[in-house]
Amino acid sequence: MIAQATNFAQSVDNTFLIIVGISVFFLVLITTLLITFVIKYSKKRNPKATNIPGNTKLEIIWTVIPTLIVLYIFWLGWTDYKVLATPPKDSMVITATASMWRWKFTYPNGKQADTLYVPVNKDIKIKLISTDVDHSFYVPAFRIKKDALPNINNSTWFNAEKLGTYTLFCAEYCGLNHATMRSEVKVVTKDKFNNWLSSK
């Protein structure tokens, strides 16, 4: 299973499970009906068909119910997304610079690194810069992704709650070595992080 390293990841996963549940229900419903009808009304068992040109009540039911369901799902997605779209004001800002085909992270004190070190339980805002083509900052364990585009000021944020090392991908195709344009996010304790940040 995929790691759940942020609060956000948990709420995304809950939404995912709700939608998977609804989807499985409808898929099983449709498939069962298809198979049942094909067997029950096969030409052998039912040599003469009955013409039913339609049913207004049914049309209304299967328009209204899906409408309500999709509006509900839309709302789930939007409320989660709202959280992701508004980074807390006192976040620590780290600049991620994407170039073909590597990541570079710059900290407030000017320190630079190839690996993204962050302290646990701290709001981190990532400013995204691209020096050449489109890239995308993607940490599956955090369920966040944001494009790093040249001349566009994008940013995203997270608050990692679990210590550990998580893969960071480039998710937007960017040429020859796109696939290996990977790095790591190392979530460490506050002390460890401060030591690392102040070291050369």
Binding site: I2, S23, I52, N55, S136, Y173, L176, R182
Partner: protein, 550 residues
């Protein structure tokens, strides 16, 4: 549905396959303005491109069998997925069903002798062939095959040294082919329906083509102009999209998806039309919810043209834009759901024959439902942030595009093959081919959902070892799928060469006009233009207690 009352006498009584016009032999085909011959021309070239696309798809899957290099280098792999996308989309599924079955059956189903502009129709085929030739040139010229992905995202497509300009020109030309086909069908449907055939007496495949025609005419020029602007930017250095010239890369993404999202419906809606015909014919009963299906095609065409932004949720569009595009995306799910429910209801109390076309139609509903439901997951803003640009989306659009346009095409070809060629095919072979294809399809594409959820980025030559088990399953699926395709192609070739000849007009008990004309149809389709009195799917003689014979 049609009386034999007279209208206009046609001159020629020969099959369109034997008809001798001004030219004979090959010229009699490539200079023919007969919509049926043009349909066959399209069928031949589209099939060839499809097979090339399949081979490249096979190579992509083979490369992904192991992390790192398996059979080719990264540059070649990147060219593979780019060319696979260009071929499958622009040369296979976008023209696909409208160009083959639309051309062949639209005039027949509405009781016309040909389309409104037969010469323009032939021109579209030439544009299509020229566009295809450009793609071949782009692959083999010294600069190297295009490697930008079929989306041509800027700035990469401006910077790459591969043959981008020729590739962009190819899609520009193919766009015109598509626009002119759409225009032709719209005019044909407006002006050439048989006497008595009101809009709601028209079969649903023409309805689907009508909705598709409008999408083609309205949105295709946008991609044409956009790609032209990219060429201008590349050649003359005018800053439009490239940030280093002061342009806006997100503007490019908008303009690209304003066409390329509705293009999904250019692929899917005609296929929906095909399987609507198949389901009613092999259920031997009237369609359930005729108007709901007809209107939902139009609703999909309209709403589908307003949801392009859902390809860009992570691009940095404003939150308002994300809100609106997500909401509209959910709304487009509704007419799609309505269609699925009406198709399913059409089976109810039918008298169902599980012929090969019907198997494809049922599989279509199943695959389209999975594709649609995973589409809902991706329309959900918070989920899409995680899922976009992973293999989840690759699985999703193969379920939607291959599952609809591909299965619709095979189903339609089995359905209409004897009508088109006057030969029958081996049903057993067709069914075996179907089941292998269907099994392979799910083994190939379903693991992509799992991998994508686990974070595997798409368009990746290399991957982490944790994804390998899914990649291997998917690759094995591709072998099974291709085995199925080989059997299917073999079944058609065998039918063409040695299938039993048939002249039976209505071999499947259908009621639309193509089942009233000769098999194969004569040059001008009808001896007399029919006069239509009833709806397209009455199936009165099949009823439990017949109310009277039509």
């Amino acid at each position: 549905m049609a009386d034999n009352s007279t209208a206009i006498k046609t001159k020629n009584h020969e099959s369109y396959l034997d008809y001798k016009g001004k030219h004979s032999g090959l010229l009699g085909w490539i200079l023919s303005t007969d919509h049926k011959r043009i349909a066959i021309l399209y069928l031949v070239v589209i099939s060839a491109w499809f097979l090339i696309g399949v081979v490249i798809g096979f190579l992509i899957r083979l490369e992904l069998l192991t992390p790192g290099g398996t059979i080719v280098g990264a540059q070649t792999y990147n060219a593979f997925f780019t060319v696979h996308g260009i071929i499958m989309l622009f040369l296979f599924v976008i023209p696909g069903i409208p160009a083959i079955f639309g051309n062949f059956f639209l005039p027949i189903m509405i009781g016309a002798k040909d389309v409104a502009f037969p010469r323009l129709n032939l021109l579209t085929w030439y544009l299509y062939v020229i566009g295809g030739a450009f793609v071949i040139i782009a692959i083999f010229l010294p600069g190297g095959a295009p490697d930008s992905g079929w989306t041509f995202y800027i700035p990469y497509s401006i910077r790459t040294s591969t043959n981008m300009i020729i590739t962009l020109s190819a899609t520009f030309i193919l766009g015109f082919s598509s626009i002119l086909t759409g225009l032709n069908f719209i005019v044909t449907i407006h002006r050439m329906r048989a006497p008595g055939m009101g809009w709601f007496k028209m079969p649903l495949f023409p309805w689907a083509l009508y909705a598709t025609g409008w999408i083609q005419v309205i949105v295709t020029p946008i991609i044409g102009i956009t790609l032209l602007l990219v060429i201008v930017e590349r050649v003359f250095g005018v800053g439009l999209f490239d940030p280093s010239l002061g342009g806006d890369p997100i503007l490019y993404q908008h303009l690209f998806w304003i066409y390329s999202h509705p293009a999904v419906y250019i692929m899917a809606v005609p296929a929906m039309g095909v399987i609507t015909e198949i389901i009613t014919v092999y259920s031997h009963r009237t369609i359930f919810g005729y108007k709901a299906i007809a209107y939902s095609s139009l609703a999909i065409a309209l709403l589908g043209s307003l949801v392009w932004g859902h390809h860009m949720f992570s691009s940095g569009m404003s939150d308002t834009a994300n809100f609106v595009f997500s909401l509209l995306t959910f709304l487009v799910a509704i007419p799609s759901a309505i269609k699925v429910f009406n198709w399913t209801a059409t089976l109810y109390k039918g008298s169902i024959e599980l012929e090969p076309p019907m198997l494809y139609a049922l599989a279509f509903i199943f695959l389209f439902t999975i594709g649609g439901l995973t589409g809902i997951m991706q329309g959900t803003l918070s989920l899409d942030i995680h899922l976009t640009d992973t293999t989840f989306i690759v699985g999703h659009f193969h379920y939607i595009i291959f599952g609809t346009a591909g299965f619709g095409l095979f189903g339609g070809l089995y359905h209409w093959f004897p009508k088109m060629f006057g030969r029958t095919y081996n049903k057993k072979l067709a069914k075996v081919g179907f089941w292998i294809l269907f099994t392979g399809f799910n083994i190939l594409y379903f693991p992509m959902f799992v991998m994508g959820w686990l974070g595997m980025p798409r368009r990746s030559y290399d991957y982490l070892p944790e994804y390998q088990s899914y990649q291997v399953i998917s690759t094995v699926g591709s072998w099974i799928l291709i085995l199925g395709l080989i059997l299917i192609v073999y079944s058609f070739i065998k039918a063409l060469r040695s299938g039993e000849r048939t002249t039976e007009k209505n071999y499947c008990g259908g009621e639309t006009l193509e089942w009233k004309v000769e098999t194969p149809p004569i040059h001008e389709n009808f001896y007399e233009i029919p006069i239509v009195t009833g709806g397209p799917y009455e199936y009165k003689q099949n009823e439990l207690e017949p109310e009277g014979v039509n």
